[in-house]
Symmetry: C2
Subunit: 366 residues, 2 copies
């Protein structure tokens, strides 16, 4: 794949940009998008940046029926000296291809995808918000487009990237969230699609979220689908516990999504020489730790929220209050460090950030 061939068609009109301090999550989109098509004859072809526009598909297109799709989520930041930074974007495109493999979607050239993303961001750089807590959210996704009702991998696809200036995922900001432990519904099971970032995992989570939302909990903690004992994820984030000084996160067991933030937290803790363990952890262990006073902190990790401290778990009619419902010291330190690195305010000792420069996004404007 020749990455020089990305064409750019600029939008003739520019949309009005929202106030940087009034942004919500994922509701406003920029002036341009990236698009590339796949057919069996041509493979992935025609990579192009075009004005943000609707997609027109036959009603029999497979995406509408059999959910063959994958997506990613990452962010771009504008530093005070106007440099554009991405956070470990290569990890997202690697995972996109892992998801593609699980969903029988043809592999995408990761280098081309990253180059295209840089060009797209450069094209819409005026859209990157600068207010505290804001960023440019990036949504790469692949949809199956063949108009055919047989249950089989699609013969055609679209790979698209759209950009959205966003505020904090949680309106409360870094304040702790209350989480209900889900005992009825299951997110994923070994042998299923839990390790892939695909629509079906999120569709299946809506019901649990709706039920817990009515009880006043903003997210659910997922337990394993086999014994309903062991902790998997929280909402659409990975989860960490600090128990008696030990940092614990569920091991990648075949049904948990390997979050880029999760990986980065583990690497950062190791860099700080703070012990971190990836292992199986049961909800009963968390309750016992709460009971004997050793449950010091709990937090979720994900691109959208970065670090989301957990102030309370609700499980089996019992409320487990954590750190008096306040943000823990470690959660705060991780949040400050990670967002500091992401925004270019702190040193980047593990070489995570990637700068978007004009040189890194050569293209043909037509």
């Amino acid at each position: 794949m020749n990455t020089q061939n990305i064409t750019i068609t600029l939008s003739e009109t520019k949309k009005e940009k929202p106030q940087s301090d009034q942004l919500e999550f994922g509701q406003v989109f920029t002036d341009h998008m990236f698009m590339m098509d796949y057919t069996e004859e041509l493979g992935w072809h025609d990579p192009r940046i075009v004005p943000y526009q609707p997609i027109t598909l036959d009603p029999a297109s497979m995406i509408f029926h059999y959910g063959q799709s994958v997506f990613e989520g990452l962010k771009a930041y504008l530093t005070e000296d106007e440099r554009i930074l991405l956070f470990r974007p290569e990890k997202n495109f690697q995972r996109l291809n892992k998801s593609n493999d699980r969903l029988c979607i043809p592999e995408i050239d990761e280098e081309l995808a990253l180059t295209a993303l840089k060009q797209l961001i450069e094209t819409d750089r005026e859209w990157i918000p600068t207010a505290e807590g804001t960023s440019l959210y990036i949504r790469p996704f692949v949809i199956s487009t063949e108009p055919y009702l047989g249950v089989a991998p699609s013969g055609s696809y679209k790979f698209i990237m759209i950009l959205s200036p966003v505020g904090s995922y949680y309106k409360e900001g870094i304040h702790p969230v209350k989480i209900a432990v889900e005992t009825q519904f299951v997110r994923a099971v070994n042998g299923g699609t839990g390790t892939a970032k695909t629509g079906g995992n999120y569709a299946s989570s809506l019901k649990a979220q709706e039920v817990s939302g009515k009880m006043g909990y903003s997210q659910v903690l997922w337990l394993d689908g086999v014994e309903k004992k062991y902790i998997e994820e929280v909402g659409s984030m990975n989860v960490f516990f600090k128990i008696n000084g030990e940092i614990i996160t569920p091991a990648l067991n075949g049904s948990i999504l390997q979050g880029v933030t999760r990986t980065s937290i583990i690497e950062l803790l190791k860099y700080w020489n703070i012990p971190v363990t990836e292992r199986r952890i049961s909800m009963e262990e968390v309750r016992q730790a709460h009971k004997n006073g050793t449950l010091e902190e709990a937090f979720g990790t994900g691109t959208a929220a970065v670090i989301s401290p957990i102030g309370e778990f609700f499980w089996q009619d019992e409320k487990l209050l954590i750190n008096e419902g306040k943000t823990g010291e470690l959660s705060k330190k991780l949040y400050d460090t990670l967002t500091g690195i992401q925004r270019g305010k702190l040193e980047d000792p593990l070489d995570w950030v990637v700068e978007v420069t004009k040189a890194s996004s050569l293209s043909t404007v037509r």
Copy 2:
């Protein structure tokens, strides 16, 4: 909901119809489609029959990201005396709403949906094929359309019905299929979405199908996601066994789809006073029955294939040949009876077929 308000806009051009004896499955669509929209303000509104046309959606529409969608599948048949018959369509719309509930999609008026379907079929009645084994396949589906990247139920939806003249689902016709027992991948688990007809279940099944396809098996037999011992479904069908005279099908355990054909087979067997048991059945039990010569028949049931005899299971490096790889007597009798009733060739003792008449599809043509 006033069912009188379905408007019809007729297509100005008519597509060429395929030869009735050269039909494949789900590749050709008729001249019209039904569409209805949902918004939080108006609820489900604007039910309409329009020319078959592409759907135009914002790239941020939830269906492209979080898979919030459901679908159904049923068939219409043209009898020799030119009556149009549907097979238990109310069951499909009941299940559509069960799926809607699991996926947090607002309920659809089942009576309106059925009236709309009748009108749509009446409008495209020339498309119903007549050759042996052919029918008009009907695909109702709901997609989430709100352009928003937060993980939450969509605020807007489209309910669409499209029609496709089809041949037999399996090119081999009623000939037995070879099935690989899936030991790595899992279709669904209790607490997941296995009982709902939603895209994610089908997306997750593609990989297993691809792997078994390379081994020469046309479908997989799914085992339970917890112990990987008990039989759930076969491909996108329910499954039945005849062991030592007893007809057995896996009980509805919270992860199996309740097929309309499955229900009808059970009711038909009971009507015939043939004992049928819904219970847990392990693959080991099937192997033992094969070993001692009591595994008489096995077959899948579903709308697309109706009855699909199973000639061989492959499990743990062992091939279990059933009935010498030939279609069993009961499988054949069930296939002949069910398709006979569906096509109006046989008496309908259990009152299953619903006739589409002009009177049953009153409408406003504009």
